[in-house]
């Protein structure tokens, strides 16, 4: 299967769906976590969950970059933006993430200059164009995105751009998966691995999940048939009592990842001892900070930050949703007080967030794949 049309072929989808059903053991309930928010989005958008038998439950994981940003971190960004002469830049979804003092959009209404960029390289361009201003990039995202920040810092160094810095909130996927595996709340059978993170880090880092925890992992692409095929590969492993890391997204992902991206990452960043994740709490060695050689680009050293932990609103149950313990619609404020227009929690901000994905597409059922997509 190579072309997009083939990844959305209704006959192939139905055939895979039947093969998956044939592999399930009657009376057994299977829980498969899709780690990546991109998969959550695809599952709801294309109604993939409706093509699975009732005893296979897809559990949404923590791999949505904005969803895991704690409120205090948003407040830190606003504190930087409120300093005289600062232009803060960030990705689109980050503008609406609620902090203790509102969102970046609300800070703009109070006079801050926070601009949305598509790439950290756009932030560097803004720095070049505004030599009398301090330009800060609020960097979020997993290993898919962190190399682009590292590359931007390397270019800033080469070009001698001194008025550019980065508030680094990049996180790493493996510690988050470890935290979920250690969580007593959840019994999972297998993982659908994040396709684009794996483009950078490869498949090898997941091997401990199979080896030490006895659970299959399949790195998957983002078309509906990619997800279905990865579930099929997982079910085949479970039926044959195997647990391995397999690569469904072989047309993009190499087993050892992208060595040039990994090199840029290790040149510019190192692991933080601890980082606070929304919903998952403080996780050791789960996020990136600047290496000593690039510390002059660290906005946390250039500016004074409040660095205060801010508790989530009482009504917010994002933590349980991020751990896969609660389904989006089980949160008491889902679709009432909390909607994509007025998000209370982060999972409703990004369309990769489980709550927003379910809000946007959850009402559709099995017909969606047949009628709307295929």
């Amino acid at each position: 299967m190579r072309f997009v049309d083939e990844y959305r072929d209704p006959d192939l989808a139905r055939a895979l769906s039947a093969q998956i059903a044939a592999l399930t053991e009657p009376g057994r309930h299977y829980k498969v976590m899709e780690v990546c928010g991109g998969h959550t989005h695809a599952i709801y958008r294309y109604g993939v969950h409706d093509l699975l038998p009732d005893n296979i439950e897809l559990v949404h994981g923590p791999g949505c970059p904005v969803c895991v940003i704690p409120m205090g971190r948003v407040d830190d960004g606003i504190a930087i933006a409120e300093q005289p002469g600062v232009i803060l830049t960030c990705f689109g979804d980050m503008m609406r993430v609620p902090g203790g003092r509102g969102s970046f959009l609300e800070a703009n209404a109070r006079g801050a200059d926070i601009r949305m960029v598509y790439s950290p390289l756009d932030a560097l361009r803004i720095a070049r164009e505004n030599p009398d201003r301090q330009v800060v990039f609020s960097a979020i995202g997993f290993e898919t995105t962190a190399p682009s920040t590292a590359l931007t810092v390397l270019r800033a160094e080469q070009e001698g751009v001194e008025n550019f810095s980065v508030m680094c909130s990049h996180v790493t996927i493996i510690p988050a998966i470890k935290a979920i595996l250690d969580s007593p709340d959840l019994r999972l059978d297998a993982f659908i691995g994040p396709g684009h993170v794996s483009t950078v880090i490869g498949c090898r880092p997941y091997e401990f999940i199979a080896r030490e925890h006895g659970k299959p992992v399949v790195c998957a692409g983002f078309e509906p048939l990619d997800v279905l095929q990865s579930v099929h590969m997982i079910m085949r492993q479970l039926a044959e009592s195997r647990c391995e890391v397999e690569n469904q997204y072989g047309r993009v992902v190499r087993w050892d990842g992208n060595p040039l991206a990994l090199k840029a990452l290790s040149q510019v960043f190192e692991l933080r001892p601890f980082f606070e994740w929304r919903g998952l709490g403080s996780i050791p060695q789960s996020a990136l900070r600047f290496t000593a050689g690039y510390a002059r680009f660290d906005a946390e050293q250039r500016f004074e930050l409040p660095g205060v932990q801010v508790a989530d609103p009482k009504a917010c149950q994002c933590g349980e949703v991020l751990k896969g313990v609660l389904k989006p619609w089980e949160c008491k404020v889902f679709g009432t007080a909390c909607t994509p227009e007025t998000p209370i929690g982060t999972c409703m901000v990004s369309s990769e967030g489980a709550c927003a994905a379910y809000y946007n597409y959850g009402q559709y059922s099995r017909q969606r794949l047949d009628l709307q997509v295929l």
Binding site: S148, H196, T199, V200
Partner: protein, 78 residues
């Protein structure tokens, strides 16, 4: 790329969402390549993280940066 193309309530923020797109190189300017999608829309892409590229190469692009060079036969090198 504009806000509407990169970020929307239903399509998602392409950068926040671990989304990457496949683009084809149409011209090369030092470490950047001008790349095109299937609809003809073009974008400037940084290529340092995938090594040298040639016109016609297919790149997996995230946040304006190529994160993988996709081989023409559809299977990456090991």
């Amino acid at each position: 790329m504009s806000f509407g193309e990169s970020c929307s309530a239903t399509e998602g923020c392409i950068t926040c969402g671990d989304t990457a797109i496949v683009l084809t190189v149409v011209s090369i300017d030092d470490a950047d390549a001008c790349c095109q999608d299937a609809t003809g829309r073009t974008e400037r892409v940084a290529t340092e993280l995938v090594g040298p590229v040639e016109i016609g190469d297919r790149l997996l692009v995230h946040a304006g940066v190529a994160i993988e060079l996709l081989p023409h036969d559809g299977v990456p090198e090991a």
